[in-house]
């Protein structure tokens, strides 16, 4: 089994005026390729802080985060941005699609940034939209799509550059139960097809769908194992 992500004794402090918030207190974690991992825990336990570090959009106060063998904390802004573009896919709770672009253009955006030729972009975006069952909504803008459909477009966007790691922060948080279930199924399908998936969630059904669940409390991992139930 190949280790895709290795976090070693990671701490993340957010300085305040006189004190600091210790969001992560020495977290160590390994994620192997093809894993489907859910990070759960109460609000403020450090789930999203950990996800930001795993996605290289934040740097640890101490400790190291290696993704595909690279210590992302040592990369400069340009390198780490390119690393995110090519190796990591993000799905956010609030979808964050660009409202001025169509579904297809939103999916094409990371590919355009990566320098993929227009014809290839169009082909790949059509393929991804079909994969998330939105082949017929390619020309629709986010405002013309339901919440579930927007989240599926956001997932297609996250997969655009064939990332080795897909990170999702509360991906069902803004969706009703039925639509949330569709997204959970989609993540399962993605993982079955070989994508490494890490989700941060409060949603028990989403956590149950994962193959491994990490429980956090007060900035520490308190339990790491297979889901119950």
């Amino acid at each position: 089994m190949t280790v895709l992500v290795r976090a070693r004794d990671v701490r993340r402090d957010y300085p305040l005026e006189r004190d600091a918030v210790h969001a992560l207190r020495g977290v160590s974690l390994e994620i192997v390729k093809g894993e489907y991992l859910a990070i759960v825990g109460p609000s403020g336990c450090g789930k999203s802080s950990l996800l930001n570090l795993l996605g290289a959009i934040d740097a640890p106060t101490s400790g190291t985060v290696e993704i595909e063998g690279r210590n992302v904390g040592t990369l400069g802004d340009r390198e780490v941005t390119e690393f995110r573009l090519k190796h990591i896919g993000f799905v956010f709770q609030r979808f964050y699609l660009l409202p001025i672009l169509t579904a297809r253009e939103n999916v094409e955006l990371p590919m355009a940034e990566a320098g993929v030729p227009p014809a290839e972009r169009r082909r790949r975006s059509a393929e991804l939209l079909r994969y998330v069952d939105l082949g017929d909504r390619a020309r629709h803008r986010p405002s013309q799509l339901s919440g579930g459909e927007q989240q599926r477009v956001a997932i297609a966007r996250a997969l655009a550059n064939r990332p080795s790691l897909l990170l999702a922060d509360e991906p069902t948080g803004e969706l009703d139960a039925r639509t949330g279930q569709e997204i959970i199924s989609l993540f399962g399908r993605l993982n079955d097809d070989g994508t490494t998936v890490v989700v941060v969630t409060h949603d028990e059904s989403l956590a149950r769908a994962a193959r491994r669940v990490v429980h956090m409390r007060d900035g520490e991992i308190v339990q790491d194992g297979v889901p119950h139930g």
Binding site: E82, L85, I88, F92, R94, P99, I100, L101, L109, E113
Partner: protein, 395 residues
Amino acid sequence: MRLLLALASLRRNRARTLLAVLGVAIAAAMLLDMVMLSTGMRESFRQLLLSRGFQMRLTPRGTLPFDTEASIAGATAITDGLRARPEIDLVSPVLGASVHVLRGDSSITTFAVGVDPSAQGDYQLASGRDATAPNSFVANDDFLRATNAKIGDTLRIAAGFDPQLRTHSGERALVLAGRARFLYLAAGQLAIAIPLRTLQEMTGAAREDRVSLFMVRLRDPGRIPDVKRWMRSALPAMDVISTADAMARVDERLSYFRQLSAILGAVSLIVGFLLVTTLVTVSVNERVGEIVVMRAIGVSRAHVVQQIVLEGTAMSVTGALLGTGLGLVTARYLNAILSRFPGLPAAIDFFLFQPRAAWTAIGLLTACGVLAGLYPAWRAASLPLARTLREEAVA
């Protein structure tokens, strides 16, 4: 993709973008007009002075052409002496005087220039014939309107008037030979041109063999300094004014216009800059979440900056292009008003269109658009990703 994103962002709030573009267009129009005003009048005056190829003027010492009644004696000898110089191509002696067109009990006063029609540089013949015959003259449209005269008509014209006795002197019957456009006269000024000898005879002994100025054309303009030196030593009773000298005097008199236009131009540029900066900043603040997510999914800082700068530039360029058209229209209107400025030749343009002026205005505003986008772009691209995402999620 970046251009598509920039244009799409501008289209997102069409009314606001339209208002911003209109604001920039007004600033651009004012800037263009001010650039045209600062250089146009000077250039127009230079073109006017050189329009007939005469590079030098000789006037009675201490005067400008037709500034006073002063005149130069011994005009024939001076003309012959000047024409004998190999560097000199053409000499045009000119006498200026007020004359009166007699109409029964009344008269119409007009300005007259006495010229040598074969060498004159004061007017362009528009129709009819030139005033080559001793008893002929040409007149401008204002004169024709005021007198209802037509080409071929004979008019009684007197050079002198005694207000106490209410009698005219130096009266002649002259035939209107042609219609002419006078180059150096103010708008609405009545003017005629009469052969020099005829006007000298009409004005009597006081103006016998006298002229108001000489206009001189050199074969080689590079010889102006040499000829000027010779003239100053050979003709000490006269001022020698080259086109460069005249332009220096014009510059002196127009410094007010230049300062005014520089200040107003700078103000319009600053207004355009602030307008675009404000609009781009507001637009960026509205979509902080989107920008941070773009950065999170791998869009580089440079590309975010480029996209936002493109938005400012697109607004500025569109506004500048619209403003160029608007500026040309307003310049034409303002020029028509200012052309009636007393004492200035009607042929002078205050707002002379020069492609360089338009390019300057467009270039300055485009540069402003780029600079205006830089600050909000830099701010947006420098946002800390994790913290901003958290704040956006909480919001």
